[in-house]
């Protein structure tokens, strides 16, 4: 009886947005009388950070500090249509819609400021701190707040904007499957190191190392949340959970968290994550979306690591101790595949 270590790898990509497109999102951006902006959406934050990502995208596009932007969602009376939060579409689709709306609002804001400063709008820039100033002559400036007051009460302008982003729906050829599934893809590589106990069949994930290419990290901490949480879920899919443990036999399905197994805080492992950014030409600031892909590479990486550790291939998920022991028994015992652990 022994514990064997092994490493396994997986490389994947992931399509961004609803397959074939046709999934629009809209946004409205407007300023209140004192230059604070609201983004009205019907998009949903399930924890992935929709409200936070769109807030930063809006602030960047408007050229104002993020503290001066608030995202309000989700209300079907005030938020324009959004297809929903799924298919890793949020940052890309909603982010783009917010950018378009913010761009329109920024245009009005600069026009209003130009009128106040008696210059051309093209001569102006935002400092990202709440002021609009003449390029090359920063002492000639006006606060966003004063611009908002002037626009509303003197000039009769509404500092607001509308945005919609739609990837047009693609056809699918029934005979060949020719189609345009997505306009951009994110990428990942993940190496999992495991230890397999050949007496109990238990698998411990010791370490994960991964690289994710996601176009542009709008907020590195939100990206980290997804990649860490996702890799935990991937480990859970690979080794622990299913509502049908004897699929396709439907019996003995778990009814609560005691019976539905998932790794707990004592089962997690260190995970080194590196992020690359190759901007998507049609992403907001190049951003793609990491929300779904972050679980995927763990499943095969762990399966491949088990093979590297004890020389058996498990093709059925989840990889339970029972399956490992049966496979070991079938091949007459364990063996590390090539004597060296990568």
């Amino acid at each position: 009886m022994a514990k064997h270590r092994g490493r396994g790898v997986a490389t994947i990509n992931y399509p961004i947005g609803m397959n074939l497109g046709g999934d629009p999102s809209q946004a409205l951006v407007h300023s209140n009388p004192s230059g604070k902006f609201t983004v009205a959406l019907s998009s949903i934050d399930l924890g992935q950070g929709m409200k936070s990502v769109t807030r930063q995208i809006c602030a960047e596009t408007l050229g104002v500090p993020v503290e001066d932007v608030y995202v309000d969602t989700a209300d079907s009376d005030t938020g324009p249509h959004c297809m929903g939060s799924f298919a890793s579409r949020g940052t890309h689709r909603v982010g783009n819609a917010v950018m378009t709306a913010a761009r329109e609002a920024r245009g009005v804001m600069l026009e209003a400021a130009a009128e106040e400063l008696e210059v051309d709008p093209g001569d102006l820039e935002t400092d990202g701190k709440g002021f609009i100033r003449v390029k090359g002559a920063p002492h000639r400036s006006i606060s966003v707040r004063d611009v908002a007051i002037a626009a509303q009460f003197r000039q009769g302008k509404t500092i607001s904007g509308r945005g919609i982003f739609l990837v047009p729906l693609s056809d699918v050829d029934p005979e060949t499957g020719e189609m345009s599934p997505a306009t951009c893809y994110a990428h990942a590589c993940l190496i999992a190191e495991v230890e397999v106990d050949d007496e109990t069949g238990e698998i411990t994930v010791l370490k994960m190392t991964s690289t994710y290419e996601i176009g542009r990290a709008i907020n590195p901490k939100l990206v980290e949340q997804q990649l860490v949480g996702g890799s935990w879920m991937g480990m859970s899919h690979a080794l622990y959970e299913t509502p049908e443990p004897y699929y396709p036999d439907t019996r003995n399905g778990p009814r609560d968290f005691n019976e539905y197994l998932m790794p707990g805080p004592g089962d997690i492992c260190p995970h080194d994550i590196i992020v690359l950014e190759r901007p998507a030409p049609d992403g907001p600031f190049g951003a793609k979306g990491p929300g779904e892909m972050c679980a995927n590479p763990v499943l095969p990486a762990v399966a491949n690591a088990v093979f590297n550790a004890v020389g058996v291939r498990i093709n059925d998920l989840p990889i339970t101790p029972e399956k490992v022991l049966r496979a070991l028994k079938a091949r007459g015992g364990s063996s590390a595949t090539n004597g060296r652990t990568r």
Binding site: G229, W232, D256, F257, I268
Partner: protein
């Protein structure tokens, strides 16, 4: 036939009429109006509804309300002192230890119970204290780090 009970909630005396067999979670949310406690499974297996009863973490969904008469109940709504957040709340914010936020109230109460009895926990102590609270979003690591941060900052303040 409803029974009147009185107990302390976050330092204030509260009262409610409860059906026989009513659980503390429903009593807090429906009768007393404390919506900061969340229900995840109503079976005592996920920890989302964790509250402190006389300082001990309990799953309120399977705690009979009547057994709380006269006791001190703490929920996340009582964690802050007026405008001042508890060090745990600061730490969770700084460590990005919440995504959907639904398990967070229960996590915070389980962590508070730990720090109240063990101000210098090891990582293993933290893991042990949190193993009754399920999180589906974060992968636990930022939560563990937040609790350790809170312990360190608490100790620095007291030192």
């Amino acid at each position: 036939m409803k029974t009147p009970i009185q107990f302390h909630l976050n330092g204030e005396e509260v009262a409610a009429f409860v059906e026989s067999g009513a659980n503390l979670l429903d009593t807090l949310r429906e009768s007393v109006g404390d919506l900061s406690v969340k229900g995840g499974c109503w079976q005592g297996t996920c920890g989302a509804c964790t509250v402190l009863i006389d300082g001990v973490p309990r799953v309120s969904c399977v705690t009979l309300a009547e057994t709380c008469a006269g006791k001190s109940v703490e929920t996340v709504a009582g964690l802050r002192h007026g405008p001042d957040l508890h060090p745990l709340q600061h730490a969770f914010m700084e460590r990005f230890a919440a995504q959907c936020g639904y398990c967070t109230p229960g996590m915070l109460m389980a962590a508070k119970a730990l720090l109240d009895r063990n101000p210098s926990p090891t990582r293993a102590d933290v893991v042990d204290a949190l193993c009754g609270n399920v999180c589906r979003c974060t992968g636990y690591e930022p939560i563990i780090e937040a609790v350790l941060d809170a312990a360190r900052s608490d100790n620095r303040r007291r030192a």
